[in-house]
């Protein structure tokens, strides 16, 4: 939490423009960052926490707010903080940057203003982090963060339309191979030596927890290589793309044959026929839906490429941040019940003690 001490009068012009930086005395600023897997339920929860007192919001995706990667809101959360103005800054920059910032090792950029269309960014420390991997999956072990798990999200594998039709499954061995090399001959997947087409591996940067989940699940310990497509050419990618839209663009267009991993809400952009099973199983029954999904294979341990959803705060978090995080988690848990992209923890019949760890029945 940060209290704005240098007071500036809030500006409200005839058009109703509100600027977060000068909203009111003793505004409560809370910065949220983390895994994009949580974006839809988190957005809905934030709107609910504001209730009718959401004054303004600045969304990177106006037409679909639940898919906005960056947004800033301002208003009152009267049930939590009474008449105090609450400014919420969100950037789904990945689990890694959130954990890095929560442990005091960096900042994340946020929209500085809640005025729609203002894309000026301001760097700040993260107050509340959403992650789908453990703190120990990133090299920031201290201080130990407050960590609460409340759900499960599967990693989904997908192919582009130009991957041969017969490729419908990915094995751990194939995943290890293509991550190490950045590409692979199609024959490795089709079993037909005549399939010499090269299939490219496209990947997010290491800040994306689903990269860690998929690698750990396959037993891949090396440094991954990938490719990215631009201006008609595939280029070697030693780092990974910095956002999901860049990945979604390549996997959904006719840029060439490629394979990748996605969080469920990003897999929603892929034609369901291009979603791959992993080690012979899908995380859901039937066809993948953007409305509702039956995640029984994940819930019961048949599909094991998944991670826990965590809410994290720093051990030095203020009482206001802790109260907010608890309210956010409760709201998210409630909204997850109807989300097509996440599984509430009480529904899950299996458990694991580490990302990629052995999955065992709870009872």
């Amino acid at each position: 939490m940060k209290i704005i001490k240098n007071l500036r009068l809030g500006l409200a012009n005839a058009a109703g423009l509100l600027l977060v930086a000068g909203a009111s005395a003793q505004s409560l600023n809370i910065h949220i960052a983390g895994a994009v897997s949580l974006q839809d339920v988190t957005y809905n929860t934030l709107v609910q926490l504001y209730g009718g007192n959401l004054v303004s919001e600045n969304l990177s995706n106006v037409s679909k707010p639940t898919a906005a990667n960056i947004f800033t809101m301002t208003g009152l959360m009267t049930n939590l903080f009474g008449s105090q103005t609450v400014n919420i800054y969100v950037n789904w920059s990945g689990s890694g940057p959130a954990i890095q910032s929560l442990t005091g090792n960096g900042t994340v950029n946020f929209y500085a203003s809640a005025a729609q269309g203002n894309t000026n960014m301001a760097a700040a420390n993260v107050d509340v982090g959403g992650s789908v991997v453990y703190q120990s999956d990133y090299p920031y072990p201290t201080p130990t963060l407050n960590d609460s798990t409340y759900g499960v999200t599967p990693t989904i594998f997908a192919k582009s339309p130009q991957v041969p039709l017969s490729v419908s499954n990915l094995t751990s061995q194939q995943l290890r191979f293509i991550e190490a090399n950045g590409s692979a001959p199609a024959s490795l997947f089709t079993g037909n030596a005549a399939d010499t087409t090269v299939i490219y591996w496209i990947m997010r940067d290491i800040g994306a927890a689903h990269r860690i989940i998929s690698a750990d699940e396959a037993g891949f310990t090396g440094n991954a290589l990938g490719y990215y497509y631009t201006n008609g050419v595939w280029h070697l990618d030693t780092v990974g793309r910095t956002s999901w839209p860049l990945i979604v663009s390549m996997i959904t267009n006719y840029d060439g044959p490629c394979i990748t991993f996605l969080p469920p809400n990003q897999a929603a952009n892929v034609n369901p026929t291009n979603i791959l099973s992993f080690n012979g199983y899908y995380p859901f029954r039937g066809s993948f839906s953007t409305v509702t999904n039956d995640y029984s294979p994940t819930i019961n341990g048949q599909y094991t490429c998944w991670g826990y959803e965590h809410v994290m705060t720093a051990p030095t978090a203020s009482p206001n941040v802790i109260a907010f995080a608890a309210a956010l988690e409760a709201g998210v848990q409630s909204n997850m019940v109807t989300s097509p992209f996440s599984i509430p923890l009480p529904r899950v019949n299996v458990q694991r003690s580490a990302t990629g760890g052995l999955v065992t029945p709870i009872n």
Partner: protein, 326 residues
């Protein structure tokens, strides 16, 4: 490398402007760039692995044959902090080309050490394989350096986390041990074990532990596997130093013939390309003295063929030996 941060405070006085400058030395944590040669040291059951960045492999490749350099990036203090003894220490050195555009070699080119069972006993000859096969190993080698830098970034810089060397608990997912695997073959991705393990009497015996550095280029599709190219060899000594010598290591020399024409003695022997050879000789009274004290005669550089050295003398009896040297 040290990062120098200069902070200045400015004092205004009646006499004018005075500057008070203070230099603050700030240590830097471990860094790695693709194609850096990285050495790893570990002791089974030890508390820490040691990873040392030796710099770009091109710097080693460009050395003239028989040049010897001491790897100054291996610091004895870090070695002592990581390893309670040098007996039974497993070590390796490697690099992999993963998109470094400063190199014209193909993607997935490897530089990997082959351990010698003893200093004069040849080890395995690593062979070139397809890009697809070398890629798995390249990924592991690259991760040893990269993960060490990631780990180092999350830790305070200090004596055991410097720009060129870092101690990492072997239980860490970023550790050399985790990426090398228990069999010393880059977690099952390479054609054989690459680690050299010092003997149990290493500290007292005094002999170095030697590993040969091979360069492995990806072969064309369907092409036969061919032996890699020897770039040089590393000697890890009981004193905790690491030296690199460019070119192939000397082997035990086999004399295939000796003849005397007038006063000219000719000694024939097999050679290894780029290895130096020289005659040593003595008379009857010196025969019981160490060969290293015998008089040095003529010399040549091997080319892989049988060559000869000559000695002109009028002694009735003279004893010769051919010595490979560098």
């Amino acid at each position: 490398m040290l990062h120098h941060k200069i902070t200045c405070s400015v004092l205004l006085t009646a006499a004018g402007l005075l500057f008070s400058a203070q230099t603050e030395i700030r240590a830097q944590s471990f860094t790695y760039t693709n194609c850096d040669l990285v050495a790893g040291f570990r002791l089974i059951g030890g508390a820490s692995d040691l990873v040392v960045d030796l710099g770009q492999v091109a710097n080693f490749e460009s050395l003239a044959p028989r040049s010897v350099i001491t790897v100054s990036n291996l610091e004895i203090t870090q070695l002592n902090d990581a390893l309670p003894t040098l007996d039974g220490v497993s070590w390796s050195v490697a690099a992999a080309l993963r998109g470094n555009t400063n190199y014209s070699d193909p993607l997935q080119t490897l530089w990997v050490t082959s351990p010698r069972p003893a200093i004069n006993t040849p080890g395995k000859v690593w062979v070139c394989e397809s890009e697809w096969t070398l890629g798995g190993t390249a990924s592991q080698i690259d991760a040893i350096g990269y993960d060490a830098s990631v780990y180092g970034n999350g830790q305070p810089a200090g004596p055991d986390n410097t720009a060129t060397g870092i101690l990492i608990p072997p239980s860490s997912q970023h550790a050399y041990s985790a990426l090398m695997g228990s069999l010393g073959n880059y977690d099952g991705t390479f054609q054989g074990p690459v680690e050299n393990t010092t003997p149990s009497d290493f500290d007292s015996a005094g002999l170095p532990s030697r590993s040969v550095l091979y360069k492995l280029l990806p072969t064309a599709s369907g092409a036969a596997k061919t032996p890699g190219t020897i770039i040089g060899f590393f000697d890890f000594t009981p004193a905790g130093t690491l030296t690199f010598t460019a070119g192939p290591p000397p082997e035990q020399t086999k004399v295939s013939g000796i003849s005397l024409t007038g006063t000219v003695a000719t000694i024939q022997f097999s050679t290894i390309n780029l290895v130096g050879y020289r005659l040593r000789y003595t008379n009857s009274s010196g025969l019981s003295t160490p060969v290293s004290t015998w008089t040095i005669g003529s010399a040549l550089i091997g080319n892989g063929s049988t060559l000869s050295l000559q000695d002109t003398n009028s002694d009735p009896i003279r004893f010769y030996t051919v010595e490979a040297y560098y």
